[in-house]
């Protein structure tokens, strides 16, 4: 099996070889640094922190809390590569399907030892239909044996391909070799949970008074809609290297209010609203950051038979894509270091070689001319205007992008774009039912490899919101799984998608944020934006 090129960084060696090469990550405070007296980090989150149960957690902000309360077999370092966490090392068999993890001596926050059986319990619980976790599909996605059948109720959870050899040894069996398996271990669904505590308290086990974790922090307070407060866990195995004493996750629904409270010193980090980056950068050049993020912003074009006739014409779809001036959107609307997207997979994806697409190389003037030509050939123009309904969810940034694109199309092509703003749940439903003409969409990689993006073009993918179906692309996707250099297939897929235009890529995300200069150790280079409070520290100003 291949894809191994992406694993170079992971330092995963070949069969039967034990790997202990990497040391754990921790706050690396340089000699002579004067630390701040108050080691409290206030981090702004958008919404109420949801379930803290690792087997259930689903949203990104909550997973940041869970990442600090619990620790998986492997963590991510500042670049996103795996480093030992609850496990010290692992062995893998000849065909890369059986992993044996050697756990370190570590304790739960109540003093009980962390055992291999806690992992077994947690993983089985995650896929158990009775738990009904949104992420119950995850163990199956990463190849753990029998996971999908258990979710489907065809097998008992005990049949899952994970077992405790003894208290400190965990054996995981996969359906087939999954080269990036070790990278997925930093995902909350594969964290351990304290079996004794969960069995004692049932659903109440995540309450502040009951919860027990093996992470660097413990839960002190959990106030829905206001904040979650974490305190250092003195029982954590690497506690001596932890510097931050307290971490607050403050819910601030409004991005602008977030900036105001940042300026008032109430939060140490907050996101920058679309379009505000240049002004804030001028004010606070040392505190504004823009780093690439593994996400693509795009429009779905309905590619099912229900689509309106006009959109079934490939020339129309191409014209629409060509007439969008992505530079204007990136430079004049968002203004936060995002990059224009002409293909689907973000350029920053590890190991991905971007395709060279002809339309990406043209100037915008040429693209516009080509767009007019294509649309005229399809029989539409300013005297026979094309009308398109576009749905997007309520948000300042989405509204701005929609407004600007609608004017580009109107001025260049005479296309009338009806904007339909709806709340998120309605949009998701419409998109899922494929009951739309054109819809806003975005995809963030599940892991740092191009297949998480290209896979969306599979006609059978449940994430294929456009309903795109091209047998050639399906074949290429299949081939990529066993290909020596999958970039060859990826390139062909991207080229085909650019021809068929089931989606119009607009831009690749950047995480744009404000951060106090006193905060050190932030993993700016981790494109998945995974961060651990134990790696951070606060210096005196």
């Amino acid at each position: 099996m291949n894809l191994t090129h992406i694993l170079k960084a992971a330092a995963v060696a070949s069969a039967l070889m034990c790997t202990t090469a990497l040391t754990a990550n921790a706050a690396m405070v340089p000699e002579g640094t004067k630390l701040a007296d108050d080691q409290t980090f206030n981090y702004r989150v958008l919404d109420t922190i949801n379930s803290l149960d690792p087997d259930i957690v689903e949203d990104v902000d909550t997973s940041y809390v869970v990442l600090n309360l619990f620790e998986g077999l492997y963590n991510e370092d500042a670049k996103g590569n795996p480093v030992p966490g609850a496990a010290e090392s692992y062995d893998v068999n000849a065909d890369n399907t059986v992993y044996t993890f050697h756990l370190r001596d570590a304790q739960w926050s109540n003093g009980d030892p962390v055992k291999a059986s806690d992992f077994v319990f947690s993983w089985q619980r995650a896929v158990d239909p009775k738990t009904a976790s949104n992420y119950s599909y995850f163990p199956g996605l990463v190849g753990v044996k029998n996971a999908d059948d258990i979710v489907a109720g065809k097998m008992a959870p005990t049949e899952l391909g994970v077992k405790a050899i003894d208290d400190k040894t965990l054996e995981v069996t996969l359906n087939a070799s999954v080269p990036y398996f070790v990278r997925t271990l930093a995902h909350a669904t594969l964290f351990p949970v304290p079996q004794a505590v969960v069995e004692k308290f049932g659903l109440d086990w995540t309450k502040p008074e009951n919860i027990v974790g093996n992470g660097a922090y413990v839960l002190a307070e959990n106030k829905a809609g206001e904040r979650v407060t974490l305190k250092r866990n003195p029982k954590y195995w690497d506690n001596e290297h932890t510097v931050l004493e307290t971490v607050n996750f403050l819910t601030i629904n409004d991005e602008n209010a977030g900036v105001t409270r940042y300026q008032a010193g109430e939060v140490d980090q907050t996101d920058v609203p679309a379009g505000q980056f240049p002004a804030l950068q001028k004010q606070m050049p040392d505190e504004t950051f823009s780093v690439p993020q593994l996400c693509t912003y795009y429009f779905d074009i309905n590619s099912t038979p229900n689509a309106p006739e006009a959109l079934k014409d490939v020339r129309v779809r191409q014209a629409l894509s060509y007439a969008i001036d992505r530079d204007v959107i990136v430079k004049n609307v968002l203004q936060g270091g995002q990059t224009p997207a002409y293909y689907f997979t973000p350029t920053a994806t590890a190991g991905f070689q971007p395709p060279e697409l002809p339309y990406a190389a043209m100037t915008q003037a040429d693209r516009d001319a080509k767009a007019v030509e294509l649309l005229t050939a399809a029989g539409y123009g300013k005297d026979n205007p094309l009308t398109i309904d576009y749905i997007y969810n309520t948000s300042e940034a989405h509204k701005k992008v929609a407004t600007v694109v609608s004017q580009m199309w109107k001025e260049k092509l005479g296309v009338v774009m009806n904007l339909q703003d709806m709340e998120f749940a309605s949009l998701l439903d419409k998109r899922h039912q494929r009951d739309y003409q054109m819809a806003r969409d975005a995809w963030c990689g599940d892991y740092n490899e191009a297949s998480t993006f290209e896979g969306l073009m599979d006609s059978t993918s449940s994430q294929n919101n456009a309903g795109y179906s091209n047998p050639d692309v399906d074949k290429l996707l299949l081939a990529a799984k066993t290909s020596k250099d999958p970039n060859v297939e990826y390139k062909q897929i991207e080229e085909q998608v650019a021809k068929d235009v089931p989606v119009i890529p607009i831009y690749f995300y950047a995480k744009v944020f404000l951060q106090k200069t006193s905060i050190k150790g932030w993993p700016y280079d981790n494109v998945e934006q995974t961060w651990y409070a134990k790696d951070l520290y606060k210096v005196a100003e």
């Binding site: 379930s51 995540t206 809609g225 629904n253 209010a257 105001t260 008032a264 109430e266 709340e423």
Partner: protein, 307 residues
């Protein structure tokens, strides 16, 4: 009086049932479901979740079970969105917050409003009258989602006196701005109502008589004028109370106080059926209670009304 109260309570029961049924079906009509995320879930996973929350049963059965649990056990069920919380817990946590700043806002709005209105009426056409009319007019037309950011700009970023959000178990400095933002409009309305009703009472014959008898001015006002002129204010207090809870949507969203308003809006947007129903029922019951208290108070103050 007792009969009147009992009758009102008797009406409350069908009202609440109607409210439950109506909200239940309204929610089911909404597109989307509480478990749909940005990433589509495999059907099998979705089925498991539906089974876990009993959503695979026929709707009439879901409704009956729900009503049964609410009425008999006072249990609103688990939240569909916040999976390690029950609706009872969400309410238990958010409602005291809303109640705290709502109570202070209510107190500020009524005391400041009544005093301002009375002063303005007594000193009609003086500077204090003009000032109070000016303040009340301004507060009346400024939506509180404009007032809130202005307050933060002035008191947080400008003067550094008060924090721009958060709750921290209701320490006073976190309560001040939400209370101002919430009470301003109602304070203005109460002041205006009070002013005009006081003016009317002061112009009436029996006050003139009292004055003619040589009673001192403040005594006339406190003993004779205040009670009758409070009547229109009292009839307005019910709506004020309801407004405090409605207004908490803005306060919660802007100041991140973690009150019930935010929980409601979020659960409506997330289709968290059980939480919406729970909060709607709670607020419905409160509205009924507030109107009832208001009517009783009115009856106590107004000698003309006999139930």
């Amino acid at each position: 009086m007792l009969k009147f109260i009992l009758r009102r309570i008797a009406i409350a029961v069908p009202t609440l049932l109607l409210l439950i049924v109506m909200s239940f079906f309204l929610m089911k009509l909404a597109p989307g479901n509480p478990f749909q995320g940005e990433k589509n879930l495999p059907k099998q996973v979705m089925d498991n979740i539906y089974a876990r929350y009993g959503l695979d049963k026929p709707e009439w059965q879901q409704l009956l079970e729900y009503v049964w649990n609410v009425v008999v056990h006072f249990d609103f069920g688990p939240s569909f969105k916040y999976k390690d919380r029950t609706v009872n817990e969400i309410i238990a946590q958010g409602f005291p917050v809303t109640l705290t700043y709502g109570f202070w806002a209510f107190l500020v709005a009524s005391t400041v409003g009544i005093s301002l209105g009375t002063l303005a009426a007594i000193r009609q056409n003086s500077w204090i009258d003009y000032l109070s009319v000016g303040v009340t007019i301004g507060a009346q037309v400024l939506p509180n989602f404009v007032l809130a950011p202005i307050l933060v700009l002035v008191f947080t970023l400008g003067l550094h006196w008060l924090p721009g959000g958060g709750w921290y178990n209701g320490q006073w400095q976190y309560v001040v701005l939400p209370v101002i933002a919430l009470s301003a409009t109602y304070m203005a309305n109460i002041a205006r109502i009070m002013r005009s009703s006081m003016l009317e009472v002061l112009g009436s014959n029996y006050i003139r008589t009292a004055r003619a008898k040589g009673l001192p001015g403040w005594q006339v006002i406190l003993k004779h004028a205040l009670k009758p002129s409070l009547l229109p204010v009292v009839s307005y207090l019910g709506p004020v109370f309801v407004g405090m809870i409605t207004g908490s949507v803005v306060v919660d969203l802007y100041f991140s106080t973690g009150g019930i308003g935010q929980a409601f809006v979020n659960s409506a947007l997330n289709r968290d059926y059980s939480t919406i129903l729970g909060i709607t029922i709670l607020l419905g019951a409160l509205t009924i209670a507030a109107n009832l208290v208001c009517d009783v108070l009115y009856a106590v103050l107004d000698p003309k009304i006999r139930y």
